[in-house]
């Protein structure tokens, strides 16, 4: 069972990576418009201007 000495930190690191990814996406504005993001995939014209970068 000594292997848990390695496994637990690895599990925590992986979880931490997920948390970091969430923080990144939050800061990146991925959660600013959840309703709009769900609908945008249905727009069929691609001549609209690029989204502004933050």
């Amino acid at each position: 069972m000594d292997v848990i000495v390695y496994l637990i930190p690895i599990a925590i690191l992986l979880g931490g990576a997920g948390l970091a990814a969430f923080f990144w996406s939050l800061r990146n504005g991925q959660f600013d418009d959840p309703d709009g993001a769900a609908q945008r995939i249905l727009f069929d014209d691609d001549d609209e201007p690029a989204a502004p970068r933050k």
Binding site: M1, I4, V5, I8, P9, A11, I12, G15, G16, G18, L19, F22, F23, L26, F31, D32, D33, P34, D35, G36, A38, Q39, R40, L42, F43, D45, D47, E48, P49, A50, A51, P52
Partner: protein
């Protein structure tokens, strides 16, 4: 105040007119960025779905100067970027308006940026707490299982250390909202719910660390972290639910800081922010523009829509020398106004101040949860102290062990259930109301609603729909109605629009000419056909007034050569379910009153039709305030339902207030709740939901107290283990949330 008093009448603005944005406004809000591009933020009303978003973005994207146009569907806001002059904003705004949306530019710096930041902070804290709770709980399960299976103490200690490693940084990060709030309360020498939470979490974490260092059996990291996670979840949902309602009310800010056109002594016109206009300056008001200053008419004859200020739905004719107030809309030809007051000194600003003063008074209301915690916190802390003293002094335990028992009391009483008791109900009640088109803005609105015993209604726009409709439309022959409606279609006058609506099929007639203050004329070979006010036709006042005095302002006449003039009377119809709602309110034991700025006969007619015995007419905003204050002195708790700008101070002063979403922006801001649609039943729905919510909150608090009666002796006796604490805490929290969920399943009493 006195100016407001002499001016004010009850009622609502015809929404479309009050909302029309003056020309030149969009350019005023455009900002030049460092890289030379112009940016503009706007709220776009009327967006329902992704299709609207695509339509707006496509229309704007086709403009050659536009760099980017991005609509946020969640917040109904548009971020626009283009190269070139600020004035381009006008044509871009026009493109959006032409699609049938309403483009309302705003200054993002003026919006409640703090709220968004707070929401984002809470979300980050929630993410960290959730991560920590899940991981620590995994290890706790291993420890509990190990207790049965016979885990080595070394393994247990290692798991404790891992728990500490995750829990302590996570707690330091995510418990900050509670610590801040608790510290703020303590500094004000008061106690709120966050004080026992902060103390409990800090002591639990500290003791668990102490136990871990000493290699003891029990560590309570899981309790501390999951407590913080659950409480943050409740708080985040609560803030989100109310944030949506608030953003609807933020539109008020667009009323201020408009620009006006000032004509200089050399005749040159310049666009100037309204608050910088000096008294005596000549302000040009174009047709359809909102007047930005208080002043007198210097030149021009027109009609102004003063509904925003007076609530009068029929436009008032103005001539040189007449007084006009900021917020009124010029419906006719251009006017020149000599400014008397601008910015902070206008009547509009005065009403806003009156309202803010009343609002401050209301913010002193203390939420039930805080009142409970005022009792709860000292009792819990005294009990922990007694446990410590009891074990140490009476039972002869070591002080370390005694401290462990005392902290166990704090952990088990940690107000998890109590902290969730109110937010859980709030979130479900808010969501339930939102699905029915009712937005709750204030956190304590439900509690205050549940205690109301008197309902005071405004008339125009609240009990009634607030827009004139043609009365007895079927008594006119189709030909006459068609002709009149066809002519009326050419005018923006509210009565003309009501007439046009009465015959939807009638096409607009070409060649009509509008004469301000009089009506419409249509030259025909056989002579002119006229549609307009009684005064224009010189019809004998006395003959026309016969038996129908109250309709004097709400009528139009149609004159054709060789035919007797036809009279179209208009009435402001009550909301379709108003009578039923009033009846239901009375059956529930509420005192129902009607207070209006309108003329007595009109108020009496509505009161009689709806079965309200207690009514007052010709009440000014200040009198409304005094009336509410009088009711409050009698010990009554008043629910005020109103919509006009003149109601705003009363809405803010009442115990609790509701306004329809067609109300003036300022009233929506003042009210605790806003309902959409034509049905007054929303008021009933609100009251019933609030009462149900209050019952559930009380049950929840009761359940939390009963739980404590069971759990505290276990802790005081020193037999509490982390396993028992986790079971007890999550059990009580689930019970409380499950009880709150009953509100969502409840059938609507009024559909």
């Amino acid at each position: 105040m006195t100016a407001a008093a002499t001016l004010a009448r009850a009622g609502a603005p015809p929404p479309a007119l009050a909302a029309s944005a003056p020309a030149g406004e969009a350019a005023f809000y455009a900002r030049r960025e460092a890289d030379g591009a112009m940016t503009l933020n706007a709220m776009v009303e009327g967006i329902h779905c992704g299709g609207c978003v695509a339509k707006i973005e496509r229309a704007l994207g086709q403009h050659p100067a536009v760099v980017s146009a991005r609509v946020n569907l969640s917040t109904r806001r548009l971020a626009l970027r283009w190269n070139g002059a600020a004035e381009l904003a006008e044509s871009l705004a026009a493109r959006v308006n032409a699609l049938g949306f309403k483009f309302v530019p705003y200054d993002p710096a003026r919006l409640a940026a703090g709220d968004r930041a707070a929401e984002s902070r809470l979300l980050r804290a929630l993410a960290v707490a959730g991560f920590a709770a899940a991981n620590v709980m995994l290890m706790s399960v291993a420890i509990w299982a190990g207790r049965v299976e016979g885990m080595e103490p070394a393994t247990r200690d290692m798991l404790h250390w891992f728990s500490a490693l995750i829990a302590l940084p996570a707690l330091i990060y995510s418990a900050r909202p509670f610590v801040h709030s608790a510290w703020g309360a303590l500094r004000r020498r008061s106690v709120n719910m966050d004080v026992p939470i902060a103390v409990g979490v800090a002591l639990t974490a500290g003791m668990s660390l102490f136990e871990t260092v000493n290699g003891a059996d029990h560590a309570y990291f899981d309790s501390a972290v999951s407590l913080v996670f659950f409480l943050l979840l409740g708080r985040y949902l609560d803030l989100r639910a109310r944030g949506q309602a608030r953003s609807a009310a933020e539109r008020l800010l667009t009323l201020n800081a408009r620009s006006v056109t000032v004509v200089g002594s050399d005749g040159a016109a310049a666009s100037v922010p309204a608050e910088r206009v000096t008294p005596g300056a000549i302000v040009l008001v174009a047709s359809g523009e909102r007047i930005g200053v208080d002043g007198t008419i210097a030149d021009g004859r027109s009609e102004v829509d003063t509904s925003l200020i007076t609530g009068e739905s029929v436009p008032a004719p103005v001539k040189p020398g007449d007084l006009v107030y900021a917020g009124a809309v010029n419906l006719g030809p251009a006017l020149r106004v000599t400014a008397r007051a601008a910015g902070e000194n206008t009547l509009l600003a005065e009403i806003v101040r009156l309202m803010e003063a009343a609002e401050q008074k209301k913010s002193r209301y203390i939420a039930l949860a805080d009142r409970v915690s005022r009792l709860y916190a000292p009792v819990v802390h005294l009990m922990a102290l007694a446990t410590f003293a009891g074990w140490w002094l009476l039972m002869g335990e070591t002080w370390q062990h005694s401290l462990v028992y005392a902290i166990a009391v704090l952990i088990v009483t940690c107000p998890c259930a109590l902290g969730l008791a109110v937010p859980a109900v709030q979130v479900i009640a808010t969501g339930r109301l939102m699905r029915r088109g009712i937005l709750l803005k204030s956190g304590t609105a439900l509690e205050r609603l549940a205690t109301a015993d008197t309902v005071v209604f405004d008339k125009t726009g609240t009990l009634t729909l607030g827009r004139p409709a043609l009365a007895d439309a079927d008594t006119f022959d189709a030909e006459t109605l068609r002709l009149a409606a066809g002519m009326a279609r050419n005018s923006a006058h509210p009565l003309a629009r009501a007439l046009a609506q009465a015959a939807p099929g009638a096409p607009a007639l070409d060649g009509t000419r509008e004469i301000a203050g009089c009506g419409l004329a249509w030259p025909r070979p056989g002579g002119e056909i006229r549609l307009g006010s009684r005064a224009w036709f010189g019809i004998d006042e006395d003959a026309a007034l016969e038996g129908d005095e109250r309709a004097s302002a709400m009528e139009m006449w149609l004159a054709r050569p060789g035919l007797a003039p036809v009279r179209f009377a208009f009435a402001d119809a009550p909301r379709p379910d108003a009578a039923g709602v009033i009846g239901a309110l009375k059956r529930r034991g509420y005192a129902v009153k009607l207070v209006s700025g309108d003329r007595a006969p009109a108020v009496a007619a509505v009161a009689e039709a709806l079965g309200i015995d207690d009514w007052r007419a010709r009440v000014t905003p200040a009198d409304k305030n005094a009336f509410l204050a009088g009711l409050a002195r009698e010990g009554r708790r008043v629910l005020m339902v109103g919509d006009g700008l003149n109601d705003a101070p009363a809405l803010a002063a009442a115990h609790v207030s509701v306004s329809p979403s067609s109300a003036a922006d300022i009233s929506q801001t003042a009210a605790d709740a806003v309902f959409q649609g034509e049905r007054l039943g929303a008021v009933l729905e609100l009251i019933d939901t609030a009462r149900a919510a209050r019952r559930l909150v009380r049950e929840n608090i009761g359940a939390a107290i009963v739980y404590n009666f069971v759990a505290v002796p276990i802790a005081v006796l020193g037999v509490l283990t982390p396993f028992l604490a986790a079971i007890a805490m999550s059990g009580s929290s689930l019970a409380v949330v499950g009880n709150a969920l009953r509100l969502a399943r409840r059938r609507s009493s009024w559909t």
